[in-house]
């Protein structure tokens, strides 16, 4: 086990190393000059060049990279060009929106998809199954920004139950904060819920045909106990794998929905930073998200051992 963890830790560091080089080089090789974006179409080339020098962007890329990595190792991700504040603080403040949003979407996704998937599988080729499958097909087909706009039009514009977007922070209390995140959370979780429903259904169907299920039924256990105790647990390996990937997807999907609901989250920070060529912010956010996703994958791998005692890490 210890060797396994060490190996994974090595892979973690190596992945982040590769990601850091990639994002650093790509954003500098891409056409687009931060000085020019700040100065716009009306500035003189001399002024833009002077600004570029002031930002230290005229130095060789390897030198800039080493400086950045040295800083990052000390926990200093640099300073935002656009906002003039430390990148680390920016990421932390944006997590206050993105983390609850992603968790809310994940909660919505699992509470909807797991029961629905199990139900569809245990009622295969019956009406409930067909309804669930058509609904999930629809859920996959609807783009999340469109679902978001639709939800805004119905619940904010027509009914006036929620606000059309924006986030006023947690200082007003948990409930007002959560209220701003419910619609985007649903819109964000919808596609993934549809995918998870289908995955759960087919995973459960696979296990339903296994020998031990026949044995359980032969013992005279009720269908419900068979489904939830003997089938779901064995199907969970597949489901958890997909779930791990989906959490990453939710994080990525938040870029779109934070834009539609104008939430000051991590996704919008990344998007804005890319168009403003706010290099330190882009680097910091990408590195952070990569670290989260690698950690999630690691957690999923460890979960396998808990779900299936036959899996050993040696």
């Amino acid at each position: 086990m210890r060797r396994y963890v060490l190996r994974r830790l090595g892979a973690f560091v190596a992945t982040l190393g590769v990601v850091s080089v990639l994002v650093f080089v790509v954003i500098r090789v891409l056409p687009g000059d931060p000085a020019l974006i700040i100065m716009g179409t009306e500035a003189s080339p001399e002024a833009a060049a002077a600004l570029r020098r002031a930002m230290g962007l005229d130095r060789p890329i390897p030198v800039q990279y080493l400086e950045w990595v040295a800083g990052a190792l000390r926990g200093d991700l640099g300073r935002s060009i656009q906002y003039d504040v430390p990148v680390g603080n920016l990421i932390l403040s944006r997590l206050r929106v993105t983390l609850p949003l992603t968790l809310l979407a994940a909660l919505f996704m699992t509470t909807l998809a797991l029961p629905l998937g199990v139900y569809a599988a245990t009622h295969q080729r019956r009406l409930g199954d067909y309804v669930a499958m058509v609904a999930s097909q629809l859920g996959i087909a609807v783009p999340s920004f469109w679902a978001g706009l639709l939800l805004i039009l119905v619940f904010a514009v027509q009914l006036g139950w929620t606000r059309a977007g924006g986030f006023d922070g947690w200082q007003a209390g948990i409930w007002p904060g959560l209220r701003s995140l419910i619609l985007p959370g649903i819109a964000l979780g919808l596609i993934q819920a549809a995918i998870l429903t289908r995955t759960t259904r087919s995973a459960v169907l696979d296990v339903l045909r296994a020998d031990h299920v026949r044995t359980a039924r032969a013992k005279g256990l009720s269908e419900r106990v068979v489904a939830w105790k003997h089938v779901l647990r064995n199907a969970l390996i597949t489901i958890v794998t997909i779930l791990g990937l989906q959490l990453g997807q939710l994080l990525a999907g938040s870029i779109v929905l934070e834009n539609v609901f104008y939430l000051p989250g991590l996704g919008r920070l990344a998007l804005g930073a890319i168009s403003a060529r706010d290099l330190p912010v882009v680097q910091g956010v990408v590195l952070f998200v990569a670290a989260v996703i690698v950690t999630l994958n690691f957690a999923v791998d460890l979960l396998y051992g808990l779900l299936d005692p036959r899996i050993r890490y040696e």
């Binding site: 891409l30 056409p31 687009g32 000059d33 020019l36 974006i37 700040i38 100065m39 716009g40 179409t41 009306e42 500035a43 003189s44 080339p45 001399e46 002024a47 002077a50 600004l51 002031a54 935002s80 060009i81 656009q82 906002y83 003039d84 504040v85 920016l90 403040s93 944006r94 706009l149 805004i152 039009l153 904010a156 514009v157 027509q158 009914l159 006036g160 139950w161 606000r163 059309a164 977007g165 924006g166 986030f167 834009n259 539609v260 609901f261 104008y262 000051p264 919008r268 920070l269 804005g272 890319i274 168009s275 403003a276 060529r277």
Partner: protein
């Protein structure tokens, strides 16, 4: 009616108010007291708040006039009016003496004096300070402080744009002790004080109680919210979360807003000239016959109808209708596919040619305009491929390196005919005659003579057709009914809220 039904009915009635759409975002409305705060949508977040470091219109929209002001002001009709200087005097158009308004204080409490004028303008003209428009101040020879409220600026040579340049966003007055904080906490003399900037979300301004114009501003608090998505912005206005849609109203949504009983549309002019730019240094656009052929091939009315839902005024040259020397040249090169084909044949392209049209989707009108143009140019044999490129790439490839055939973009600055006298500008238009006349116009003080020179410039633009001027982008603002005092036209890129208030 049974008791149960009655109970149900009263329950439903009690719930109805809870279900009804929420009122103005500015809560606390009672029949007697009008709201004193305003929530304004703006499309892009400023890339820093220092007007002397970034010429971005997103910065000017928030900071210019609201937080910081200059000696001279361009008012809502495009006229130059005295502002922090209450009057000025010159006998030779080389020595200007400005008499500053008394009782003006910066937000930090210190009085605004002639020393500040000297410091700000000396810094602007110093190449070391990286002012984005240092050329606006390079004709200044010296600045002499006569007393606390009097300052004389001496020019090296006549410059007709001198007063106008002092009214630009880069000429705002700020205290030298607050120089370091301009980028994130600008200090000025404006009607509002920056309360806070929540990065990525909003900027909140508070009323300046010591404002030098009595009775202004009328609002206590203003919040700018950054909502880039036009659909989200419109929904936020409809849901009552924001009060004013300052920059994000698409022409396609004007009818929706007009029909809403609680909303109003403000339609006006801007100095934003939308053009189809051609790369004059590249074949076949180096040939004036080809450029004129393209102009003939374009049906500008159809573009305004098709891409802008009829909003926007057809344009003939780069001198827009808000300019005092404007001459209507919209019909000077009429739409005529036959004439276009004939000119193309003369230039050696009887079968037309292939071209790539680069448009930045950050500005949706460029894409829509491009889509309409595509069909029009195809009719004369010019086969255009539309390529959408991200704004950062557009600035780098098209604007900086002129790596393009055609592009569509709006030029928002007023008085920008000089771009055609600069062969290094991305049009790469190089005409010695135009450069000569422009130089004359810049140094001619007599209004009649200058007007004649500007007429010549506009005639030359039509003849040479360096780009195709399409239309003036309209000012489209949507607001809740009851919001009053918003500028109708936009002769300068500020969202001036000094006189905005709630009525009824």
């Amino acid at each position: 009616m049974t008791r149960l039904t009655a109970l149900l009915v009263s329950l439903v009635l009690a719930l109805v108010p809870a279900l009804a759409p929420v009122g103005p975002a500015t809560a606390g409305t009672s029949p007697t007291a009008l709201p004193t705060s305003l929530v304004v949508q703006t499309t892009s977040e400023p890339p820093g708040l220092d007007l002397t470091a970034t010429p971005a219109s997103a910065t000017a929209a928030v900071v210019f006039y609201n937080l910081q002001e200059a000696l001279v002001k361009v008012d809502q009709h495009g006229k130059l009016v005295p502002w922090l200087a209450e009057r000025w005097h010159t006998s030779d158009n080389l020595n200007y003496t400005f008499f500053l308004k008394g009782g003006v204080r910066f937000h930090n409490g210190r009085a605004f004096t002639a020393e500040d004028v000297k410091y700000v303008l000396d810094r602007a003209r110093n190449p070391e300070t990286k002012h984005p428009h240092q050329r606006h101040y390079e004709d200044i020879a010296s600045i002499h402080v006569r007393d606390q409220h009097t300052v004389t600026i001496t020019l090296k040579k006549l410059n007709t744009m001198f007063l106008y340049n002092l009214a630009r966003q880069g000429s705002v007055m700020y205290p030298r002790e607050a120089l370091e904080q301009q980028k994130s906490q600008p200090v000025g003399t404006g009607p509002f004080i920056l309360a806070r900037w929540e990065r990525g979300d909003r900027i909140v301004l508070k009323r300046n109680p010591d404002y030098h114009v009595k009775g202004l501003p009328k609002l206590d608090e203003v919040t700018f919210r950054f909502i880039p998505d036009p659909n989200a912005a419109l929904a936020a206005l409809q849901a009552g979360d924001i009060d004013v849609l300052a920059f994000g109203l698409g022409p396609e949504s004007v009818e929706v807003v007009r029909r809403a009983p609680s909303l109003q549309v403000i339609l006006g002019q801007t100095t934003n000239d939308v053009i189809l730019a051609l790369n004059n240094s590249k074949k076949p656009y180096a040939d004036v016959r080809v450029r004129r052929a393209i102009t003939h091939a374009v049906n500008k009315e159809e573009i305004v109808k098709g891409a802008m839902f009829g909003f926007g005024r057809v344009l003939g040259t780069n001198v827009d209708p808000l300019n005092p020397y404007f001459v209507d040249m919209a019909q000077a090169v009429p739409h005529s596919p036959e004439k276009a084909k004939q000119l193309l044949a003369e230039a050696g392209y009887p079968n037309g040619f292939d071209a790539v049209l680069k448009v930045p989707p950050q500005y949706p009108y460029t894409v829509r305009t491009g889509e309409v143009l595509l069909g029009q140019l195809a009719k004369v044999g010019i086969r255009v491929r539309l390529e959408q490129i991200e704004w950062g790439q557009w600035l780098d490839r098209v604007y900086k390196n002129a790596d393009y055939d055609m592009t569509i973009i709006g030029h928002a600055e007023a008085w920008d005919a000089g771009n055609y006298a600069n062969p290094k500008y991305y049009y790469r238009f190089d005409s010695a005659r135009f450069q000569e006349v422009y130089k004359q116009a810049e140094s001619t003080l007599d209004d009649g003579k200058r007007r004649a020179l500007y007429h010549d410039l506009q005639k030359m633009m039509v003849e040479e057709a360096p780009v195709v001027w399409l239309y003036v982008y309209p000012r489209l603002v949507a607001a809740k009914k009851g919001v009053q005092g918003i500028w109708k036209d936009l002769p300068t890129p500020s969202m001036d809220l000094t006189e905005v208030s709630w009525a009824k």
